[in-house]
């Protein structure tokens, strides 16, 4: 990738700090003996959810391609990385936990990256919803193929019981997971910072203009898909270390959508947002599962759905805009720090304000949506603003 200009922006520092603080809290709890294994597992889940959300955000928020198949990459990583970890563990012995995890993560990540390359290819030709459905299809295809492989356990799933990393006395997998999160943040944030990142956001904002400027669109699109798939694959390997069996049912499009929900809730193109919403959703799921046992369990879907709808409407409805600006977290911080609240015109370069989403996701302007009549292209305003009903 050439030389990457390493400078830490304050915003990026915030992201590192959040992760480090969580890591420290976990470790302190571990040492003082307050870390229950279920909480350690929650930490691990938060960790790999962050990896998934941020890597998907790299595709959706920065490159501007809607992907509904992220769980498919995770599936590849979990199955291939999981199987190689099981075999490695047999070869190296049970004590080699960490080396096995790291090697498996590389194998799982790389094989997912190969699939990232494959799914990146159609993205060169397809746009918007069409690409979205292709990625969704890809996720289902991957699942279906793994389900039918005897070597991966077929319908019974891949038994990864021997990989169990956490023990009741030393649940330490979350530490490795958070280090993976940190490494991912360093890589992705620095790509985003660099000229490559600008090229990627340029493709998002206007592909044709980007091409005209001499940006190698093919290369960058594939590159983003490969990087995102690699990290999703790593998350899959971590998942394989927490759960046995690795079963294809987990990686359905519902899970891809859950990752997408994390990205959308956090704000497209906002890495901090993805981190927080990944935490939020994982914790909500955990709380709902632990609180609603027995007969109350059937309420879970309802509560989750209502939370989802209310949060999305609250944070997106045009009618609530002024209310939001008044009471948003950013405004709160601004008053606390006695600063002027962020002016939308002074928006930072990589901060795609997601109520005016990139061209590609603004499906209406680009797609054939007419019913039997000739299509007239949208007006320039539509292409730029993304607002409807002017």
């Amino acid at each position: 990738m050439g030389k990457i200009n390493i400078k830490i922006k304050p915003k990026h520092l915030v992201n590192y700090s959040i992760v480090l603080v969580m890591l420290l809290i976990g470790v302190v709890m571990l040492y003082t003996g307050n870390l229950r294994p279920s909480i350690a597992q929650l930490f691990t889940q938060i960790g790999y959810s962050i990896v998934l959300a941020v890597s998907l955000n790299f595709v959706v928020g920065f490159l501007g391609e809607l992907s509904l198949g992220h769980a498919g990459f995770m599936c590849v990583g979990a199955y291939i990385g999981g199987l190689s970890a099981v075999m490695l563990k047999q070869a190296l012995g049970a004590s080699a936990k960490l080396p096995v995890l790291i090697i498996a993560m590389l194998i799982g990540g790389l094989s997912a990256a190969v699939f990232g390359f494959i799914i990146g290819l159609p993205s060169l030709r397809l746009k918007g919803d069409y690409l979205a459905i292709v990625t969704l299809a890809f996720g289902e295809i991957v699942r279906n193929i793994f389900m039918n492989q005897k070597i991966f356990g077929g319908a019974r799933g891949l038994t990864t019981g021997s990989l169990t990393y956490d023990t009741r006395r030393a649940p330490t997998l979350f530490i490795v997971t958070f280090i993976v999160v940190l490494i991912m943040l360093i890589i992705i944030q620095n790509i985003v910072r660099s000229k490559h990142g600008r090229a990627i956001t340029a493709i998002r904002d206007n592909e044709i203009a980007a091409k005209a400027m001499g940006i190698n669109v093919t290369f960058y699109k594939l590159f983003v898909f490969i990087v995102a798939a690699f990290f999703a694959g790593c998350a899959g390997v971590i998942y394989a270390h927490t759960t046995t069996p690795v079963l294809y049912t987990f990686f359905s499009y519902n899970y891809s959508i859950e990752i997408l929900v994390m990205v959308v809730l956090g704000g497209m193109g906002s890495i901090t947002g993805s981190i927080f919403s990944a935490m939020f959703i994982t914790v909500v799921n955990f709380m709902l599962q632990s609180q609603l046992s027995g007969d109350l369990a059937s309420l879970r879907n309802l509560i989750y759905a209502v939370i989802l709808i209310v949060v999305v409407i609250f944070s997106n409805a045009p009618a609530l805009k002024s209310f939001r600006e008044k009471y948003s977290l950013a405004a709160l911080f601004a008053t606390l720090l006695n600063k002027k609240s962020s002016d939308p015109s002074k928006r930072k370069d990589d901060e795609a304000k997601w109520d005016r989403v990139p061209t590609k996701i603004k499906m209406d302007a680009l797609l054939s949506t007419d019913l039997n009549v000739d299509y007239t292209p949208a007006r320039p305003e539509d292409l730029r603003g993304g607002k409807e009903g002017k």
């Binding site: 309802l302 989802l308 409407i313 007006r379």
Partner: protein, 288 residues
């Protein structure tokens, strides 16, 4: 031959669902992920009314009324506040609605699949049955085509239909021309949901069990069908649905049966790579 007929009848169910997807997408510009779950509600409505009245006609009417009202309600509560916001936000609320309906159905009816009842049966038509075609297959196929034609005529020749076209084409201009966009979108949802009720009805003829997740996989398959046909295109939805149904059945009959899902979705990818806007979708030139 029999496989082909089975495929056609499964395909026409997909096609009916895909019609709903395509309608809503073409006009409201949103992927209504909850469409499959409206089918599920329709199926439950049929089951409950049938148990209460033993009249299939009443059951069909109840399903259509309930689905239509539900469609309008969902649109008003969950989608309308987001008009003008990012399409992705709407996509997420649609998913939320889908979870909600599934959760509600489970709460009310339990998650156990329930047989719809023996009153829900088409009378045997001996002439077709003798050549190995089930009545439900024949009826589904014919009704699918009728509904498609009716829909096309409705859009072409009624005032509401033209207004829908106008909204689909250029919402801003439609408003300027005095079209009540909110009303048109509500009507679209109403029609889409009524179609879902029909789909639920035919689904139950073929697969006479109701369950809370009944709509999920047919919904996704139908969405795939709509995209294969060119999303937004009504004949496209029909073609895509039937094509998928037939291919699925031929896969199941062949030794490749375990890979049916993979083949079905690979077909989608291949078709889109060859024709990026689907079989009957219009090619749009991108302008700067």
């Amino acid at each position: 031959m029999i496989t082909l007929i089975d495929g056609l009848s499964l395909g026409s169910i997909y096609a009916l669902i895909a019609l709903g997807y395509t309608m809503v997408y073409g006009i409201a510009k949103m992927l209504n992920f909850a469409h499959g779950d409206i089918i599920m509600v329709g199926a439950y409505a049929i089951m409950v009314t049938l148990a209460a009245t033993v009249s299939p006609i009443a059951a069909i009417i109840a399903a259509i009324v309930i689905c239509t009202i539900l469609g309008i309600l969902v649109e008003k509560l969950a989608y309308k506040p987001l008009r003008g916001a990012s399409p992705l936000a709407v996509l997420i609320t649609a998913i939320g609605v889908s979870y909600f309906l599934q959760g509600l159905a489970q709460l009310v009816f339990g998650s156990q699949p329930k047989p719809v009842g023996s009153a829900w049966k088409l009378p045997a038509i001996k002439a077709i049955n003798d050549i190995g075609i089930t009545t439900s297959a024949a009826v589904t196929l014919i009704c699918g085509i009728i509904i498609m034609v009716a829909l096309t005529l409705f859009i072409k020749y009624t005032k509401t239909g033209s207004a829908m076209l106008a909204v689909s084409e250029d919402r801003g201009a439609a408003i300027l021309m005095g079209v009540n966009v909110n009303k048109i979108i509500s009507i679209t949802f109403a029609i889409g949901s009524a179609l879902a009720a029909f789909a639920g009805m035919f689904y139950l003829f073929q697969i006479p069990n109701t369950e809370p997740t009944l709509g999920a996989m047919p919904g996704i398959t139908a969405f795939t069908a709509a995209v294969i046909g060119g999303i937004g295109s009504i004949p496209g939805a029909m073609v895509g649905g039937v094509l998928l149904g037939v291919i699925e059945k031929f896969c199941l009959a062949s030794p490749l049966a375990p890979y049916t899902v993979a083949i079905k979705f690979s077909l989608l990818i291949v078709i889109l790579l060859v024709k990026p806007t689907g079989l009957l979708g219009k090619v749009v030139r991108e302008k700067v």
